[in-house]
């Protein structure tokens, strides 16, 4: 579904990604670990095509199509969706408006979703105006529910969310990724798994979201490269919890000496 080859990306003249390779197949959920500043958000933003991320080398393919220089909205229409970490406030544009935009003419149960995400009273408010961190997370997920993308890009979905809401966030992500029916929209999970097409790429700092969302493949991004790729996410998380990222530096150093 998504294939990234030797991706190099510059932000404001600084090289951030230095050769990333990634392959996500339909139905797979990948998690991305890595210390602050390693390039995780840059990778997600580049996949979506935001202008401040400049691809200097490499290719991105989505559903077999080269999207490396495709405008953001064409990628969105092709089936890419992203939850923003710090979205801008849109004055005079209501939640209702942006949900309608996200749905692109499809008939979606906006009111029902809003109710489930405790955002019903937000529908008439300006997008992100005065929203708390947790409200932004839920609002981003609500927009993705309306958009219904095939590949979901999530940047730290658990940060700033209180305990009460994290299970809810997990539930919505599982629905977006066809891992689970949602309360009131039930369908046997076995059936879901067999027919699952939706894929996800989730950045997590703490790994906390993994308690709610099952991931298939894990990667560690360190200094613009994958220091570990294609591992079991739980095992990676355990390593990181035990040793932090200092091991990545050592590991990469050894590999450089070995001429890898």
């Amino acid at each position: 579904m998504l294939k990234i080859e030797d991706l190099h990306v510059e932000v404001g003249g600084k090289q951030i990604l230095k050769g990333v390779n990634l392959h996500i197949r339909p139905g797979e959920t990948h998690v991305l670990f890595g210390p602050n500043g390693s390039g995780k958000s840059t990778l997600l933003g580049t996949i979506m095509g935001f202008s401040r991320f400049r691809v200097t080398r490499g290719k991105i393919y989505f559903k077999g199509e080269d999207i490396t220089s495709m405008p953001v909205y064409e990628r969105a229409r092709l089936g890419l969706g992203i939850a923003f970490q710090r979205p801008p406030v849109l004055r005079g544009v209501s939640m209702q408006d942006i949900l309608k935009i996200s749905a692109q003419g499809r008939d979606v149960r906006i009111e029902e979703w809003a109710e489930k995400l405790n955002l019903r009273s937000f529908l008439s408010r300006d997008v992100n105006a005065g929203f708390s961190g947790g409200e932004i997370k839920r609002s981003e997920l609500l927009q993705l529910l309306a958009q219904n993308p095939e590949l979901v890009l999530l940047d730290e979905p658990e940060s700033g969310v209180d305990l009460e809401n994290i299970a809810l966030i997990g539930e919505v992500i599982n629905y977006l990724l066809q891992k689970d029916g949602f309360r009131g929209f039930d369908c046997p999970r076995r059936e879901l798994k067999q027919t699952r097409q939706k894929a996800g790429l989730i950045i997590t700092h703490t790994g906390y979201i993994l308690e709610y969302v099952a991931a298939d493949v894990g990667h560690v991004l360190f200094d613009g490269r994958f220091s570990c790729s294609g591992f079991n996410p739980q095992e990676l998380l355990k390593w990181i919890q035990e040793h932090g990222y200092s091991e990545c530096a050592r590991c990469l150093e050894r590999r450089t000496i070995d001429g890898e």
Partner: protein, 374 residues
């Protein structure tokens, strides 16, 4: 359009169907559907003055001055005459007189139109609106020039008087031609508990537009709100402001200005003067640059002349943040659609509470402005 037939039926010898269409675009419906009355002036002649609700008076100002001798008390009282202004009353004066009797509430808005049909005409008007005690009035004024008119001049004096606990909701739409100069002078006096809501919209090219309407809140607990939308096209110069003098105790004022330049030169002023204790005023001036060669010069002014005055302002001028555009693009909108959505939100016309057809006309104008800006 379905109005065609209706337009033809109302088109009199004074106005053509085409001209009635021009009026419709500034909110003046010659078919008078859902209107409380109409005043239409073409060049220097009064084409229509009809009243559709009891308790509302609509006349040409010359006629009103002859009919009511007391009207002189309202002549040049809210606006000071300049050196060249004639002070004596001849009875030949043009403009509208609209008065609502005490306690009468207008069901539908009264519409007034000052229309320039002849090339190069200098239109001089002097308008008076009086909302008597406890009365309520909605007025839509559309000022426009005919589609074949290129140049002209519109000079207008408007004096509004809002009595105790009365309310005036005044909407003015301007639709001029590229070489028409427009210089209205407007003064409003609001008595105790009175409310003045003013909406002003100018979206089309104009040569030179200069206005600085002033409201005097003389009564205790009186309120004024100005909401202005300006779209500056290339070769247009607009110097527009709103001023409120808060003279009555506990009076309130709010000035909201939104301007967009597509290459035009816009000076956006605002001035709040607090002269009594307990008054509160807020001024908000926002400008959006949609073309690199345009100018927006925001000049918000606050003037406190008494203790216990609470005045604030907020001004911001800039271009649309790329971040906002890409946010909407990530939800599937093209760059042009995203820009239009942000511009529409920025202008926030909805809060003005305009009639649907007028709102649609503004939406249309914004749609056009996006095409030419990208």
């Amino acid at each position: 359009m379905e109005n065609k037939e209706k337009l033809a039926s109302v088109a009199s010898e004074e106005l053509t169907g085409e001209e009635f269409e021009d009026l419709l675009r500034v909110g003046v419906d010659a078919a008078e559907k859902e209107r409380g009355g109409t005043y239409i002036q073409k060049d220097h002649s009064v084409v229509r003055a009809t009243i559709l609700q009891e308790g509302i008076e609509i006349l040409s100002i010359g006629e009103a001055l002859q009919k009511y001798s007391w009207l002189e008390q309202y002549w040049w009282k809210a606006v000071s005459p300049g050196e060249d202004d004639p002070r004596t009353i001849s009875g030949e004066e043009k403009g509208y007189y609209i008065r609502v009797l005490p306690g009468v509430k207008s069901i539908f808005p009264v519409q007034a139109c000052l229309y320039i049909a002849s090339e190069g005409l200098v239109q001089n008007v002097h308008n008076i609106v009086i909302v008597e005690e406890g009365a309520e009035l909605d007025v839509i004024t559309g000022c426009a020039s005919g589609r074949h008119v290129v140049s002209g001049m519109h000079v207008g004096i408007s004096e509004f008087y809002i009595k105790k606990n009365a309310k005036l909701n005044f909407t003015m739409i301007h639709n001029w031609a590229e070489k028409v100069a427009v210089q209205p002078r407007t003064g409003t006096v609001v008595e105790e508990g009175g409310v003045f809501l003013s909406n002003y919209v100018c979206m089309h090219p104009v040569d030179k537009l200069e206005m600085y309407p002033t409201t005097y809140l003389i009564g205790r607990g009186s309120t004024a709100r100005y909401h202005t939308i300006l779209i500056g096209h290339p070769n247009s110069r607009m110097d527009v402001g709103s001023r409120v003098v808060l003279r009555g105790e506990d009076s309130r004022a709010e000035i909201l200005a939104r301007s967009i330049t597509m290459g035009g030169y816009i000076v956006n002023r605002g001035h709040l003067v607090g002269e009594a204790p307990g008054v509160k005023g807020h001024l908000e001036c926002r400008g959006l640059m949609l073309a690199p060669e345009g100018v927006i010069h925001a000049i918000p002014e606050l003037e406190a002349r008494a203790e216990g005055v609470d005045l604030s302002h907020e001004a911001a001028v800039g271009k649309i943040a790329q971040e906002e555009i890409e946010y909407l693009m990530a939800r599937g909108l093209s760059e042009d659609e995203a820009t239009a959505t942000i511009v529409r939100g920025f202008l926030n016309v909805k809060v003005m509470g305009l009639p649907a057809e007028l709102e649609a006309e503004i939406e249309r104008a914004i749609g056009l402005s996006d095409e030419s800006s990208m």
